[in-house]
């Protein structure tokens, strides 16, 4: 019985893992939105620099936008909350 309680089988459900996952997922979303806002600002700066004929500023701005896009890709494809069913070493065992 004590072992079962420790495993969370017999006692009331404490979904700490679920809450943690939700927090990570929300943080990921917020980061994505922030990167998008930064990219929007970079696009506006690019347009202004181009119209003002400040050509030396164009390349750094495009590189900054590319970095932001790279960060977005890593957020979408790599920075995922870890699965409840799987770990890096395989299945979670009961």
């Amino acid at each position: 019985m004590k072992v079962e309680a420790k495993r969370g089988i017999a006692g009331p459900p404490h979904n700490f893992a679920g809450k943690g996952r939700t927090a990570v997922a929300q943080a990921r979303l917020i980061l994505l939105v922030m990167v998008n806002v930064a990219q929007l600002w970079i696009l506006a700066a690019t347009v202004e620099a181009a119209l003002a004929h400040r050509f030396s500023a164009l390349l750094p701005l495009v590189i900054a936008s590319a970095i932001c896009f790279g960060v977005t890709l890593t957020l979408i494809y790599w920075w995922r909350p870890s699965s409840r069913r799987f770990t890096s070493t395989g299945y979670l065992k009961e």
Binding site: Q39, L40, L43, T46, S65, A66, C68, T72
Partner: protein, 187 residues
């Protein structure tokens, strides 16, 4: 009376119910749940943000590329006669196209009789500038910028650099010719 009014309001507002009632015969063949359709999952939203990021990157790169390409454009311009320029009264302006049919330009004869010509695109966000006779200056209606008609320099407002100047040549028969265009850098 009050309940009647309430019913009428409910009927008007419940377009969802009306739509369901009207489309009832088709619901079985084409099931469609509006609430379900309107719901966006976290994964879908993440994908949308990813696509937006890609679009913003492509937009910035394309805009920068186009600006750099345009700046490398040919430095040789054709000579083009500006029709009716010789009869232009002092303190007035005339629109023409130079160097191509797509590029609108403006010719101004200032009060001292001198002729000046500029590309008509505002250097802020490319709105067309016009000659404001009352104040004798070139004004941009979009964001309230103004340029000096004698030099093309920015008088006030958001434009970051002077207007592109068009070189003029007055030939023997008093005809006015546009012979070149010079883009200015940030003023």
């Amino acid at each position: 009376m009050n309940s009647d009014l309430r019913k009428t309001i409910d009927n008007v507002l419940s377009d969802e119910t009306d739509v369901r009632r009207a489309t009832a015969p088709h619901q079985r063949d084409f099931p469609y749940d509006r609430e379900e359709e309107a719901r966006v999952t976290r994964r879908e939203f993440c994908n949308f943000l990813g696509l937006t990021s890609a679009a913003l990157f492509v937009g910035a790169a394309a805009f920068a590329g186009k600006a750099a390409f345009d700046a490398r454009g040919s430095s040789e311009f054709p000579s083009l006669q500006i029709p009716n320029a010789e009869t232009l009264a002092p303190g007035t302006s005339l629109n023409f196209r130079y160097p191509t049919r797509k590029d609108s330009a403006i010719l101004i004869r200032t009060m001292d009789g001198a002729l000046h010509a500029y590309g008509q695109k505002c250097t802020h966000l490319s709105c067309p500038v016009y000659f404001e006779q009352a104040h004798q200056r070139l004004e941009c209606p979009c964001h309230d910028g103004a340029f000096d008609p004698r030099t093309g320099a920015v008088l006030y407002g958001p434009p970051p650099r002077p207007l592109d100047a068009i070189k003029l040549e007055i030939r023997g028969d008093n005809s006015v010719w546009a012979v070149g265009r010079e883009a200015s850098n940030e003023g």
